[in-house]
Symmetry: C2
């Protein structure tokens, strides 16, 4: 039995999403894993940094490449709590990431419905801890609505 399964790493991504939540950021978190080791952790920081490019995935790619000293992430897995958008899926094409595992679906602006081209070697798994990932997002938007 390997304790390092998809749920294990998605929980780590969820911890990042919770950190984003606590900062008032749209709660999306990501980790990048190489051979069962987390080499990058990140959460959405678009508000804090005033920067639309500061999605969790984008920061995770940058951080993982920095760690590895090379810009390709062929043997790495991205775990992210929300389905990546066009920008983040587009970046994954360039990074040639080995696998994308995501939690909640994004039926409007996710890469699946918008048919963003992934790298031919990138595998995709969806719906891991989907409910927990989605609930945190829902809670964020409900609280935000009540505050405004």
């Amino acid at each position: 039995m390997n304790p390092f399964d998809d749920e294990y790493f998605m929980k780590k991504a969820l911890q990042e999403a919770q950190t984003a939540f606590d900062k008032g950021e749209v709660p999306v978190g990501a980790v990048i894993v190489l051979k069962d080791q987390i080499i990058a952790r990140a959460h959405n920081l678009t508000e804090t940094l005033n920067d639309v490019t500061a999605h969790a995935e984008m920061q995770a790619y940058t951080s993982a490449s920095d760690f590895l000293g090379g810009k390709y992430l062929k043997d790495c897995i991205l775990y992210v709590t929300l389905e990546p958008c066009q920008m983040c899926a587009g970046a994954s094409y360039w990074a040639q990431i080995g696998k994308i595992v995501y939690g909640a679906r994004e039926p409007k602006l996710g890469f699946s419905v918008l048919e963003t081209k992934l790298h031919p070697k990138t595998k995709v798994i969806s719906g891991v801890l989907e409910e927990e990932c989605g609930l945190l997002l829902k809670r964020f938007f409900v609280e935000k609505r009540n505050l405004n």
Copy 2:
């Protein structure tokens, strides 16, 4: 007569592309303009930074948002020497950029052929100084091939 036309600003983007070329980077340059003023300049730095997300446009968005103190670029124009990819077009969706003006076309991995969704308010103009922008890219790849 307004001297600040699309060709004027594309020439500034081309200067950035030339800087990238001189560094051994794929020569793509970008500037972001607000009310006839350049508020951000950037060039591709993927090799230097070991980071696939370091396209000229991405850095230009970050820089322009930093300058403005806000993450939306609704009244801004992006001038870029090469047609943006999915990642950069995807980022422009979030930035709600007012207009994208590009030089050379990217028939394989450009956002047009891949049908990346732009923000509904974003206008697009293509082919400004197309030949100059394309020639610099061709020259880069020819030289690279001869070196290897």
